[in-house]
């Protein structure tokens, strides 16, 4: 198998709080294959956003990466001097966020912001050349009349157009990896479909890899080749997308699948996961899902389960999986 573009090993990111510290990401191993999309799914507080900030080395204080490696094309990003990391950001790895309005500066035109991002990586280029490249970048994300949009300000654009501008900026320096953190969560469903379509087309054109962070299983099913399900700072299940949806193993994955209403099924009641996600400073011992898990037994309270292969390429961190065998036994 080819070397993956990105390999995360034993990543642990901690936040200091009065009286101690807690790990928002606690021992995560992941791989992003070249030209493919890794979907990272989970609910608020599962650590999926801190994971992506850790890869970018943008974890805000009082947080810090305490352990692990992030290998990108043979280099450990976590060991790079800050100056080199700045070069990696934008040119090798870029990121887009949920709310494009808060990521764009309202007092500068859209064009000026793209030019600024481009100049940071190519200080010698002339203003005219940068403007031409910025307009080309807008055209690439299918923005109609890019010459006119170049002059406009963020508030003059719709939410979908703003997200296109963010994608244009992110892709301006042809990164090999795009991290998209809930890129369509703030958008209407028809606009979401446009943006997902665009990301897929751009991936086919450029061969970039994507880490897609989302809470929406529909979006994951639509976009991801590989999926990692996160719960309380850990990966609880990892598989190819089809395997995950067709043969879900971890009880948390089952709960997530059961709690979304589906258009292709009629059910009287949704399968609700009881309880709430535990706060990271008060995690249960053993398996972190055990207080909410209907299959939990004494052993689940004792030791955290290892992420183990259940079928080729399909990993789950559950001693009760596959659950039908455990329940029958």
């Amino acid at each position: 198998m080819r070397e993956p573009l990105l390999r995360i090993e034993g990543l642990r990111t901690v936040f200091r709080i009065p009286g101690g510290e807690f790990a928002a990401v606690d021992g995560v191993d992941l791989e992003v294959p070249r030209g493919r999309t890794l979907g990272v799914v989970g609910e608020s507080g599962c650590g999926k956003s801190v994971l992506s900030l850790s890869v970018m080395r943008l974890v805000p204080p009082p947080g810090r990466v305490a352990a692990g490696h992030v290998w990108l094309e043979g280099r450990d990003l976590l060991a790079l001097p800050m100056e080199q990391m700045r070069q990696v950001r934008g040119s090798r790895v870029a990121m887009i966020f949920q709310e494009p309005m808060t990521s764009l500066n309202p007092v500068h035109s859209v064009g000026a912001q793209i030019v600024e991002a481009m100049r940071a990586h190519d200080p010698g280029a002339s203003a005219a050349a940068l403007k031409e490249r910025a307009i080309e970048a807008l055209r690439r994300v299918r923005i109609p009349a890019p010459e006119r949009r170049f002059e406009e300000y963020p508030h003059q654009l719709s939410g979908g157009m703003r997200q296109r501008v963010m994608i244009a900026m992110a892709l301006a320096c042809s990164p090999r990896l795009l991290i998209a953190d809930e890129p369509t969560t703030a958008l209407d469903v028809t606009v979401q479909a446009q943006i997902l379509d665009l990301l897929r087309e751009l991936q086919a054109e450029t061969g970039m890899s994507i880490i897609l962070i989302t809470h929406d299983l529909g979006v994951v099913a639509e976009m991801a080749d590989e999926v990692a399900v996160m719960y309380a700072g850990r990966v609880v299940e990892r598989a190819a997308a089809r395997a995950l949806f067709e043969d879900p193993q971890h009880p948390y994955t089952l709960g997530l699948l059961g709690s979304v209403p589906r258009l292709d099924e009629e059910r009287e009641r949704l399968l609700a996961i009881e309880g709430v996600v535990p706060p990271p400073f008060a995690l249960p011992k053993g398996c972190r899902f055990h207080p909410r898990c209907p299959f939990a037994i004494e052993a689940c309270r004792m030791a955290p389960p290892a992420l183990e292969e259940i079928a080729p390429g399909h990993l789950a961190a559950c001693i009760r999986a596959p659950v039908e065998q455990s329940v029958a036994a």
Binding site: E43, H215, L270, I273, E274
Partner: protein
């Protein structure tokens, strides 16, 4: 479209013969747009809601769906008279409430309550949960302090919280628990209608399911009618009996849930339905995005408001506004080609694999985990 075209006579009388709980006719809200500080001139009008008619029966859920800016939340606030309509009529239980004021409006409001999207913003942080839940009873002069306290305990139990929660403050609760508090508060005055304005969109999916299940249980128990505002069609399909689809201040299609999902007769409804990503990778790439953006409600396109984005648009669509056509009993679509549209070609088959379905069933039957406490 006039109100007469929208409501057919048998429906105005309600299907069961009784009059509907809520009737809305040709409701509109136009906001003036002013420019200038001292001599503010009106330079335009935002037609947030522009001629909406529907009815809601007792114990029924009608969903209003549409994308941001379609006017669904404005409609919800108009129905409760939290904002005043520019035009139109509202009847609640047969009585015209458009012109009510003072004590008679307050009496009517006891029968209609609202649950908001953001459970963080809709609870007063200085009131204990018990005070927040008792407040509507206090406003309406129901009971004395002791009976209200007893009722608060009962309501907390109904929504799955514990009576000791009454002493605590909103910040001590999670989003899902706060939404439960909002529901208990709405229930406190025993309303007949609850307007649910995106009640689960701010919640995590597993919490969404808990709240959706709770709303369904309460409806079955108390015969509540819900006006359910949402943008998530999968949630709507699960909750609603009937669905009204809104676009730029108008209802473009209204039908029984099954008819609407099986055979949508408006191109916008079809676009919405086909844009939803399915949790099934085997059907990847079937999402067909609709082009363009929603036009500004200050300057809606002439003719059919959807024609700028519609794959079926013809010359007539640019010139004449389409009337609502009844394509089947109770199923109306405001499209010139409502009857002629080709089959929608939507495929909702699939569902869970047998392996996934078996494990989900085990999850559901394995019983509650010991530490469940929401």
């Amino acid at each position: 479209m006039s109100a007469a075209e929208i409501l057919t006579a048998p429906e105005r009388a309600g299907h069961e013969g009784a009059s509907p709980l809520l009737e809305v006719e040709d409701l509109a809200k136009h906001w003036p747009v002013r420019r200038g500080l001292i001599l503010a001139r009106q330079v335009g009008t935002v037609r947030a809601v522009d001629g909406v008619s529907f009815h809601l029966r007792r114990g029924e859920t009608l969903a209003l769906v549409g994308e941001s800016g379609c006017g669904k939340s404005t409609t919800a606030r108009l129905v409760l008279r939290l904002i005043e309509p520019s035009r139109g009529a509202l009847r609640f239980d047969g009585e015209d409430i458009t012109a009510l004021s003072g004590a008679s409006l307050r009496r009517m409001r006891r029968r209609m309550q609202i649950i908001f999207q953001d459970p963080y913003a809709s609870l007063n942080p200085r009131l204990t949960v018990g005070e927040a839940i008792a407040e509507p009873m206090l406003v309406h002069g129901i009971g004395d302090a002791a009976s209200r306290a007893a009722r608060v305990r009962e309501l907390l139990g109904l929504v799955g919280l514990a009576s000791f929660h009454a002493e605590r403050y909103p910040h001590e609760f999670s989003g899902g628990q706060r939404q439960r508090i909002g529901i208990a508060r709405a229930l406190s005055v025993q309303p007949e209608l609850i307007v649910c304005d995106e009640p689960v969109s701010a919640l995590d999916v597993s919490i969404q399911a808990q709240v959706v299940n709770l709303l369904k249980d309460l409806q079955a128990r108390f015969g509540l009618a819900y006006l359910f505002i949402a943008h998530d069609l999968a949630v709507v399909k699960h909750m609603a009996d009937r669905v009204a689809v809104m676009y730029l201040g108008r209802i473009v299609e209204i039908a029984d849930k099954r008819a609407l999902f099986a055979d949508p007769r408006h191109p916008y409804t079809r676009a919405l339905l086909s844009a939803i990503p399915h949790p099934d990778p085997a059907r990847r790439g079937r999402v067909k995005p609709l082009g363009g953006d929603v036009p500004s409600p200050m300057n809606p396109p002439p003719g059919c408001r959807f024609h700028t984005r519609c794959p079926h648009a013809a010359a007539i669509c640019r010139e004449r506004e389409p009337p609502a056509v009844e394509v089947a009993p109770g199923h109306r679509s405001a499209c010139h080609f409502a009857r002629e549209l080709p089959p929608a070609g939507l495929d909702f088959s699939g569902g869970l694999t047998p392996a996934a379905a078996r494990r989900l069933a085990l999850f559901a039957s394995a019983g509650r985990p010991a530490a469940a406490s929401v």
